[in-house]
Amino acid sequence: MEKTKFDYEKYLRKNTLPHIWCPGCGDGIILKSLIRAIHKNGYAKDDVVIASGIGCASRLPGYVDFNTIHTTHGRALTFSIGIKMFKPRLKVITISGDGDALAIGGNHFIHAARRNIDITLIVFNNYTYGMTGGQASPTQPKGSFSTTTPFGSIDQPFDVCALAQAAGATWVGRSTSYHAVQLEKFISEAMNHKGFSVLDIITNCHISYGRRNKMKSPAEMIKYQKERAVNVRAAENLAPEAMEGKFKTGVLYNKKDAPEFSEEYYRVLESVKAK
């Protein structure tokens, strides 16, 4: 029997399509998963704000029918904080590329985490600066190639999840654009979490990253994700050497009932008022 088709159009701004993404880019898979997750969580469109920085990933908000803001490079979280603090009833989601979230936006990233403010940050981690043509990224694996590391990167990459957790985020997870069903589940869970939630999504950019790293086609990149992703439970039983070149996926950290920044702020406000 044919399954009823999910109605994406309800959430898309058809007048802004076609999107700018290259055919085969992983970002579209994440867009669809995000829409399904929002639908599943049952939010009213008017109550959802999606803010992004600058980059390929950050073009997403233009295509979806919510309150949307395409801000400045790396700084979407600062806008998100202003919105959440002024109108805590709104559901605030932030979209960033890896360069956006962790290079130029690194300071905002750790401080949003430190505050444990109720915002969901989704990092579209394609190991590269897609929009500007494939320069080095702070998550790019050591030894990989980019236009500004033509002889191989010597940098130590950030582990987005470890950094988020160390800085104070209370929900941290990782998935890939290959795991589309899991993505929907994790995005939904991250949005349901009260506090700062970070979902690191390994996604494919064959155009700016893949073709410089022996993965010319989207299929090769998807295969890379499939082969390198190790579920967190499976990873527990693996020796460290076996994890070499691989990454953990799953919900890596979930701390419930930690004080959330906007709630704490309004609690102080009430206590001052009572005096």
Partner: protein, 378 residues
Amino acid sequence: MAQNIRLMQGNEAIAEGALLAGCNFMAGYPITPSSEVIEILSSRLVRIGGVCIQMEDEIAALGAVLGASLAGAKALTASSGPGISLKQEHIGYASMCEIPCVIINVMRGGPSTGLPTLPAQSDIMQARWGTHGDHAIIAITPSSVNESFYETIRAFNLALKYRTPVMILTDEIIGHMREKVVIPEKKDVEIIDTALPDIPPEEYKPYNFKSGKVTPLAPMGEGYRYHVTGLIHSETGFPSQKIDIIQDAQKWLYDKIYKNIKDIEKFEEFLTGDAEILVVAYGSTSRSARQAISMAREDGIKAGMFRPITIWPFPDEQVSRLAKRAKKILVPEMNMGQVILEVERNACGSYVRGLNVVNGEPITPDMIYASIKEISSL
């Protein structure tokens, strides 16, 4: 009825003016000589149910202000020199996306860390041109504590009315000096508030480049779903690369300010009626200029002062009107010569001289008086 008169510091007057204007959101990052603004609001805003947060840097502070403003807040940030440099990227974003906000710059001396505790007027051109790309901005230079209070209220009104960043440029002298402020009743002050558009969401467009009227910004989360981007956009808010839209969009950012200059401009004239020597002075320097003019008048020298209160857009028409008669113009300022460039453009052939002090000390009445004497004998 008894007047409510209070003695306060310039920075406090800004905070109090903001509160009277209905400011309900502040985000900042401490920096001398502006820190009192965030310190005062950290307590005062909490007491009235508003939000005040210290962010991780000045870029973040203005980002949070713009986010809150999009959600319907009346939002403010305050800083000085190095912090204002960091804010430039988001000042441009506010211009481009037409997001109301008030930015306080309590000016201090020098490039870089410069003179943290000493005054200057060296950010006048930065206020106009600090962010990249063609844009217009409103900037205001109060010259007293009382004026800091009232001009902060006006800054909020202009920010909302024209959907633009408005900068208040005071300096270390006015920021830290104590003077009396006559606090009005809220009902006696004109206050423009955020409001929902008077059209239904289906008809709402976040921008309007054609009618000459500024579309009100619909607070996010109230049923008006739209898109905001720092890319050049059409009236729908979505990015556009069509050349006619690009032209209209960029021109609009200029026109909405410059075509309304009569509404935005504000200035004071002191003994200009018969003035043969015109002193163009603003902010704290205008206080010394006023006294110097009185001293010169006692010597029989016909001197007068034009004091721009709105410094951007610059009051070209007013300066050229006065320049035509004056023949000689003196521009004292605590910088190497910034407003003098605007005066020269409008001098209509009159002789223009600058008096420039950049040693961290105020320009005294004696110094201005000496310059007036000197040019009167030319």
